[in-house]
Each structure stands twice: as C-alpha cells, then as structure tokens.
C-alpha cells in the first residue's frame, strides 16, 4: 500500500484561533509584525540616505514624499513600530535574565510595552511639530 488512507479526521494541535486573546500573546505577535515592518522600513532609511548623497532634486523628492499625507502615515507607523519593537526587545532582555516571567509581571510589562510605545510615538511627534513650528 503506497498511500495511507485516512478514514477519519485525526486531531490537530490547537492553533491561534483556539486561544483567547491575551495581552502577552498579542504583544508577542506585534513584536514580530513590527520587526517585519521595520525590515521593510529599512528601505525608507536607505532611500533617504541615498537621496541625500545623490542630488538636491533627489533629496527634494524624498522630502516631498515624507511630507505628503501618505509619507506621514508611513513615518507615523515607522515611529510606532520602532517604539514598540524597542520596548518589546527590552522586555525580551528582561526575560533573558529570568525575571518578569510570572503571570502578573508578564502581563504588566506587556501592557507597559503597548502603552509605552504609544506614549513614545506621541512624544516624538509632539517634538517634531514643535521643531517645525519653531523653525
């Protein structure tokens, strides 16, 4: 017999949709997603640096993209992704020392990652608007 015939559904191990949403789970998933987003965001950094090295008109094109509504949304997302991934990374470094793994501590730093990332994003964008208004 070359092929095994499956007469009945075999049990599958539980996957994402089985589990109740939990803050540590969501922050873990977001850590991956923000990491992947920053991976693509490296293209933006490369574009900015190359444009500055290339010519004044290339720099102008980059600046007008960054200043456009779409560019601002991308930059806002980049800021939040960077803040979230940075705080999530610090959380992992704390975990590496064996601390913060118990349920209450893990939940607390997971919420801290989310709230802190939003606060950091607000601070950075507040500062950017102050700088642009004052210039």
């Amino acid at each position: 017999m070359k092929q095994a015939i499956r007469l009945r559904q075999r049990p599958l191990s539980p996957h994402l949709q089985i589990y109740r949403r939990h803050v540590t789970m969501v922050m873990s998933i977001l850590h991956r997603i923000t990491g992947a987003a920053l991976y693509l965001g490296a293209l933006l950094l490369a574009w900015g640096l190359v444009a500055t090295a290339w010519s004044e008109s290339a720099y102008g094109a980059f600046e007008s993209f960054v200043g456009s509504p779409l560019g601002k949304i991308v930059l806002l997302g980049y800021t939040w992704a960077l803040a979230h991934h940075l705080l999530g990374g610090l959380r992992h470094l704390v975990w590496d020392t064996g601390r913060g793994l118990e349920r209450a501590g893990a939940n607390a730093i997971a919420w801290g990652t989310l709230i802190g990332s939003i606060m950091l994003t607000a601070i950075v964008w507040g500062a950017s608007h102050l700088i642009i208004w004052n210039s």
């Binding site: 990491g35 992947a36 950094l45 490369a46 640096l49 190359v50 960077l82 990374g89 700088i131 642009i132």
Partner: protein, 128 residues
C-alpha cells in the same frame, strides 16, 4: 574518562550553537541607543534644507553613529527575518529561496546605506 569533541564544542547539530541567539541580543542592546540616536537625528532634520541635511550627516559623530546603526540594525533584522522564514515557510524550495533573498536584501541595504553615508561624509568640506 573522555568527552566527545562535539560535546566539548557545544555547537549542536547545526554547528552554530547559540551564536545566532547571542548575536541577536548583542545587536539588540546596541540598537537601543542607536535607534534613539536615529529618531533624534530625524527630528533635527525635520524641514531641513539640502545643505543642512548633508552637513549634519557629514558630522563625524553622526556619520559614525549612522554606520554603526546600519551595521547593527541590518544584522539584527537579517537574523530576525531568518527566524520568521524558518518558522513559517516549510516547503524547502520556498524556504531556501527566502533565506537567500533575505541575506541578499540585507547585504544590499547595508552596502547602499554605507555608500550613501560615506559619500556624504567625504564630499563635504572638512568638519570644523
């Protein structure tokens, strides 16, 4: 009493041991101050004209910090993406193709960004 050579090396079946785990932590720690530096740099460049942006990047402290950020950051993201690929892509053809593309993409980003920073640095009149 003898211990097999492979056990004393502690490098496991893949031959790399915990090197990748260690490098991910090392670059993570380096990325903390470097990412904060990048945000501050971008804030100071908000609305800056071309010459101001160039002379700012050409500043030795800024240029060297950018070089460090590019190296540490891209190394970190290359390892991270490799982990994602290994976790989610199981068909050997796709997996190997993605692993190769990941390294090629990361290498291209490093080379391009370093070229840009060095060109700006070397093309700008002496600092001070």
């Amino acid at each position: 009493m003898q211990t097999p050579f492979k056990r004393t090396q502690g490098l496991g079946s893949a031959g790399a041991g915990t090197g990748q785990f260690w490098t991910q932590r090392l670059t993570a720690i380096a990325n903390v101050p470097l990412a904060i530096f990048l945000v501050v740099l971008v804030l100071t460049l908000a609305g800056a004209d071309y010459e101001a942006a160039r002379s700012s990047i050409a500043n030795p402290l800024v240029a060297v910090s950018l070089v460090l950020l590019i190296c540490s950051g891209v190394w970190h993201m290359c390892i991270g993406m490799q982990t994602i690929i290994e976790d989610y892509l199981h068909r050997p053809r796709f997996k190997i193709a993605a692993l190769i593309l990941n390294v090629l993409f990361s290498g291209t980003i490093v080379a391009t960004c370093l070229w840009a920073v060095l060109k700006i640095s070397f093309n700008t009149p002496p600092f001070l």
